[in-house]
């Protein structure tokens, strides 16, 4: 059963590229902001890191590799559902340059996916760049 969820994710997101390691030791925010060392489960901590580490929001058409992406809750409750790292901008016919994201899906695997191919809300996606 431990691998069943991973298998289901792979079936539902066939275009995504999944890593093999399933680690509960860090989550997406731990991957994005803490070098895979810990889980960060409080969205207020994420917001604080953005401020204290001098992240600035960037427009979607200015995104480049190295920026981070935040999937904010559409409920306006401040919850940062998911985060990841922009690793590439891939030309896609009719769409333009689509950000490719490396992120950790909860307690599951690290995944390379297009910005809109993941199990998180897509209606409030924001990009940030560290400026320090």
């Amino acid at each position: 059963m431990e691998r069943a969820a991973d298998r289901d994710f792979r079936q539902r997101h066939p275009m995504a590229c999944f890593g093999d390691t399933l680690s509960p030791c860090y989550n997406c925010h731990g991957f994005t902001f803490a070098s895979r060392r810990t889980r960060i489960s409080d969205s207020q901590d994420v917001q604080r890191i953005l401020v204290e580490d001098d992240y600035e929001e960037v427009a979607r058409d200015s995104v480049r590799p190295g920026d981070i992406v935040l999937y904010m809750s559409a409920d306006n409750d401040g919850d940062v559902e998911h985060s990841g790292l922009v690793v590439e901008l891939r030309e896609s016919m009719g769409i333009g340059r689509v950000p490719m994201i490396l992120s950790k899906w909860g307690s599951g695997a690290e995944v390379v996916h297009t910005v809109s191919d993941c199990p998180y809300q897509l209606s409030n996606i924001r990009f940030f760049r560290v400026t320090r």
Partner: protein, 150 residues
């Protein structure tokens, strides 16, 4: 002893649990899950609590057990039942990373769900020069005089 109903699929619950990075995500996704709504309809609050306790008291907890326990807690929160508050309060959720956080979210949403419609009374026209009773009966606040001596 109450056991997990086999007709309620756990794979969706496990996926939600595994994907969750924050307790708020887990709570919101479970709250809108069909499986959770079915649990809420199928069981009384004390049954949900008993099943949750059974899952959490197992010395070896599998991922599916934890996902089911969270689903039961959220199902308990979805019950429109007077007794569920007591059951929710009595659950020992210390073994779950986000158990207390999710209980807090449920409690924070404990707002009245019923509405009472009050029909307005018919307005009777007052005779010319009359003062409405609601105004007339309002006493003036006591006057306080503060004397400042120099």
């Amino acid at each position: 002893m109450i056991t997990w109903p086999e007709d309620i699929d756990s794979s969706e619950l496990v996926m939600t649990y595994v994907a969750a990075n924050t307790p708020a995500y887990l709570f919101k996704r479970l709250r809108s899950s069909d499986s959770v709504n079915r649990l809420a309809k199928a069981f009384a609050p004390e049954e949900l609590g008993e099943l949750c306790t059974t899952l959490l008291s197992s010395p070896v907890r599998r991922q599916v057990d934890v996902a089911r326990a969270y689903a039961l807690i959220v199902a308990l929160g979805a019950k429109d039942d007077h007794y569920r508050k007591g059951v929710l309060r009595a659950l020992d959720l210390a073994v779950l990373d986000w158990g207390n956080a999710i209980r807090g979210m449920i409690t924070a949403r404990d707002i009245p769900t019923g509405t009472v419609t009050i029909s307005p009374l018919p307005v009777m026209p007052l005779p010319a020069g009359a003062v409405p009773g609601s105004v007339k009966s309002t006493p003036l606040p006591p006057q306080t005089v503060i004397q400042v001596s120099r």
